[in-house]
Symmetry: C2
């Protein structure tokens, strides 16, 4: 609701240490920090929309985000997820095209806005940041291609099982070590797997019957991840 920018510290104080910025010098960190804007986003709010003119990139200080695109029929397709420490909208760095996807906050989040120019300036003098950025692109490309082949060749059941695994590897479990720490609607899960809400509901029920998962409302419990792995046909 209210902007709580004051809650977010300077980049030098930020404890997201294992992200793309870890190679920056203190001066460079300061440079980024001076030009950043920080915002609170309420669950469901959009950070940017597909087609928007891009005015920079974003860094998730704390939170969970989904990136999605709309098909011609208006159906949503989830492309990727991002979480604390990840950056968003970095592809706009390399082309002056608008954002290619819509970023929606999945739970209340704090997200910083960074200047595109500062970032590219730093890339020029710090080849490690360039390198990190390329690795990031490369990683995203790899998962996009994997996602593609999965959707193209797998049954709905396999794709749902895989979607649940993706949620696990991205966001992890709650303290109990078996409940997905993210709660999505059936329709959102459908948008990951590329199917409909109804089919998702039925398929989740089947997975439940096969003891691969347990359902408690929106809460999804995965007692043994290897059961899901077997069903999805994923072996990595």
């Amino acid at each position: 609701m209210s902007k709580t920018a004051t809650k977010i510290p300077a980049c030098s104080e930020c404890d997201n240490k294992d992200n793309i910025f870890c190679t920056l010098t203190p001066e460079q960190t300061e440079m980024i920090s001076e030009n950043k804007g920080s915002n609170f986003y309420k669950k469901g709010q959009a950070v940017f929309y597909e087609g928007n003119q891009s005015h920079g990139l974003f860094c998730i200080h704390k939170g969970k985000v989904k990136l999605s695109k709309l098909g011609e029929n208006g159906k949503e397709q989830v492309i990727r997820f991002a979480k604390t420490g990840n950056i968003l909208g970095y592809r706009s760095l390399f082309s002056n095209e608008p954002y290619q996807a819509t970023a929606t906050v999945l739970e209340d989040s704090y997200i910083c806005h960074l200047s595109k120019e500062k970032y590219t300036d730093i890339m020029k003098e710090n080849s490690k940041l360039s390198w990190k950025t390329m690795q990031l692109l490369s990683k995203d490309l790899k998962s996009a291609e994997q996602h593609l082949i999965n959707i193209a060749q797998k049954t709905v059941k396999e794709r749902i099982a895989e979607a649940l695994q993706l949620l696990h590897t991205t966001f992890g479990f709650l303290e109990d070590g078996k409940t997905l720490s993210i709660m999505l609607t059936r329709s959102e899960i459908a948008d990951i797997a590329g199917t409909t809400t109804e089919t998702t509901i039925r398929t989740l029920a089947i997975l439940c019957k096969e003891n691969a998962i347990e359902l408690e409302g929106k809460r999804i419990i995965i007692p043994n991840i290897s059961v899901l792995t077997k069903i999805s046909g994923l072996y990595d």
Copy 2:
């Protein structure tokens, strides 16, 4: 069949001018050129296989290549195409992972092999090459995501129409200005659209009946590309 490396000139003499190397200084071009190996590949031959340890990247001096991955069921999925002037296997630059896809030559081609180390050395001193590489990654990522949403949400007919458009935009027409300059088997077209050979045949027949295309054996004629565009629901 026989190695015809002598047919390929030094990089400085190469007339693929609009590719990623156009920003290199003469010295850098020479550096790449000295370390390159050139080979002739016969139609159907593989340049590298998914899972192979990567030992460098490739530049297509002249030719056509498809990049594909295998699903768990053994079914092939075409990820991307590449043609004269494009580079292949560049993702191995950023990670020491094996090649993520298999590159297969679609018609007799001349392809150069470049040293990974030289490329990265040049990237360090030439930020424009880094930039170009990032743009390339970014572009590939964009098309992969577009391909994903298309396969996830479109009918087979739309996907086949789109596959034909992809072949057009990538490889263009013959001199007659309407015949696709690439001839693939029905099964290969199926592997682009993520469907089966039989369905591809039936769908091509339907497109033919609707006067979107004409078929002469493996030759596919597209008298009016906008008809296909309309069918595929692609508007870019």
